[in-house]
Symmetry: C2
Subunit: 344 residues, 2 copies
DNA sequence: TATATTTGCTTAAACGTTTAAGCAAATATA
DNA sequence: TATATTTGCTTAAACGTTTAAGCAAATATA
């Protein structure tokens, strides 16, 4: 019952007594094939339940119509949403995506790149693992002439297209918001300085303090891996200061959640004693008590644009020189209970 | 600089003045090739940075070494973890996976199946969307002779391999736990009856009540789509009853979270007034206040086993008749504050 | 009516790999 | 020493598609 011999273009050709080449052209609406033949071919194709063999056409055409996507993790609202929108845009143009996750590991990321190159993807859309510093593997993609588009976590010196939000400005918006709430000692639990986006958030924080004539206090600027656990640890550290902060801005929502837990365990009122702001607008920020103010990163827009940029390379063909083309979106601050002093 | 002509087996053959066939065999450690030739071939392959063309070998061998994975969503700890472990097992055997998400939509799920078949996957590992009732698309996979393995959300009458937890027994464990805490009026916010796993949880709930000589109260058994929103709605409904429940068992963590919010808004003490149990052990269950008791579904085990089952089909070759082979794992109850009456 | 162009196909080769069949040289066996 | 077997390769064809080149018939143009 199962495993009938697979139907090929030749089977259609045999039925209609024409050549396989004519069938191929008819299926692709070549202008040199008559309407009658096209209709007949399509009819027979449908009757035989013909399914084109992607592998064969990919081999012949030298492109697979597959795009590789590398994310640090799929288990995040941001990345999951970006992926969904990349897929939406690419599927319409006949491309399919292969998703791989690095789990924030540099080694796994390199493996993923090898896997994708091996699978002959036509392009790679990636966001880097926290660990990644050495970019030689990404250079490998470039040297093969495969379009590479980075989003969210990317690096300047790779000289490839990048799409993300304006991290620097986001910090300004956050600091401004906290100052409006009356906060004066604003701490920043920041990400790794070597990662561009986190560095931009730190720079934004520093410059925004200056703008509002607030002193920069080194005790209040802490580097973290932004996990929940580390958020807890860094919050405890802040509470041990002689002069505690009156606001904490964490560069990631999980770290903010850790801070929130520690504050509650110490019966510190949020936001009145210490206001709290996260980053990323993960769904749980709206679910915990109190709800956490955060930055929305426009995942859908990032996904769509990353896919669109790839498509531009795809139509131009493989031999286009890549240039650094940055697309920076404005982020939006979602104010919730954890920083809304007036209403609480 | 980029786009050097790609290196093929022929290039290696030319360097060594042997035939491409010999190169192919040497690379695959064929016993009929001398050690010297093998070493020479591998050396040149490395020097030229040779990368085998998966498409060509897939076409020739009639298999792609790709496995399709369909999940309702990647943005869930359970599915993300299952995927990760499927990948881990399959990568070791030279397979790669293509992840697609149905977003709980039947139409999207059908599209995904078409995509995967088009991409010539060697097998499909899937968990069904909530919407899915019509199984004809899955029959399509079977009729092509492609191994199909379902996990978590599967259906009996498809007659394919299935791996999941013992939902029926999980309900028993939950009810038993709540009875031990002294609860007498246990409500169940269940999933769709037409979905096997949710139906099993409902049956388990009903039978467990009977076992503990508790009456089955129809008001306390509610069908839900298990989203956070619907969890809120159904909890409100329960609070309007003349005799409120003293425990709520939701068949999903998001629904449990919705219930938790409503309970807190109404200043009802959890667990003393009403105890709460969820299902799935999503990370947030350990993060909210109070933490939510839930069922751990052994995602890593499910992922590993699903991949292992596929590999068994893969080595046997395509022409094996599939049989219904169920693997049912025992679930584990993770007791947290929301149902821990003694300690609260 | 004679030549040029267009239409609608066919032929043949190619993408890069694998593998069945075959064959000469080397080695083993009688 | 004569035959059988093994070793180590080569040759040729194939996977299913696409596409350049070509060609006959139909149609257009002079």
């Amino acid at each position: 019952m199962t495993n009938k011999k697979r139907i090929t273009i030749k089977d259609i050709a045999n039925v209609l007594k024409i050549s396989p080449a004519a069938v191929s052209k008819a299926l692709h609406d070549d202008s040199r094939i008559s309407k009658e033949t096209k209709l007949a071919v399509k009819k027979v194709a449908k009757e035989l339940n013909y399914q084109p063999n992607l592998l064969a056409s990919a081999l012949r055409k030298g492109k697979s119509n597959l795009v590789g996507v590398i994310v640090p993790k799929t288990n995040s609202n941001f990345f999951s949403s970006v992926i969904q929108h990349i897929e939406e845009v690419l599927n319409k143009e006949g491309y399919h995506i292969i998703i791989t996750q690095s789990n924030e590991s540099y080694k796994k990321e390199c493996d993923n790149i090898d896997t994708l190159l091996f699978t002959q993807v036509d392009g790679i859309i990636a966001s880097m693992a926290n660990e990644t510093i050495d970019l030689s593997y990404y250079e490998k993609i470039k040297s093969k002439g495969i379009p590479l588009i980075l989003f969210d976590r990317g690096e300047n010196n790779l000289n490839v297209d990048y799409i993300g939000i304006d991290d620097y400005r986001s910090s300004h918006i956050i600091v401004e918001h906290l100052v409006e709430q009356g906060c004066q000692r604003i701490a920043h639990i920041g990400g790794y300085k070597h990662t561009r986006i986190f560095n931009n958030r730190i720079r934004g924080y520093v410059d925004a303090l200056k703008k509002h004539k607030l002193p920069l206090n080194k005790e209040l600027l802490i580097e973290s891996n932004l996990t929940l656990q580390d958020g807890r640890k860094k919050m405890k550290q802040l509470l041990e200061l002689k002069k505690r902060p009156d606001a904490v801005y964490a560069a990631g929502d999980y770290a903010a959640l850790g801070a929130l837990q520690v504050l509650q365990e110490n019966h510190i009122n949020i936001p009145n004693d210490i206001a709290l702001v996260g980053f990323g607008n993960e769904p749980f920020t709206a679910l915990v008590t109190p709800t956490i103010t955060s930055i929305e990163q426009h995942s859908s827009e990032i996904g769509k644009q990353a896919a669109t940029i790839f498509l531009e390379y795809a139509v131009k063909g493989n031999f286009v020189k890549q240039t650094l083309n940055k697309t920076i979106l404005d982020a939006a601050l979602i104010v919730r209970d954890s920083s809304n002093i007036k209403n609480s």
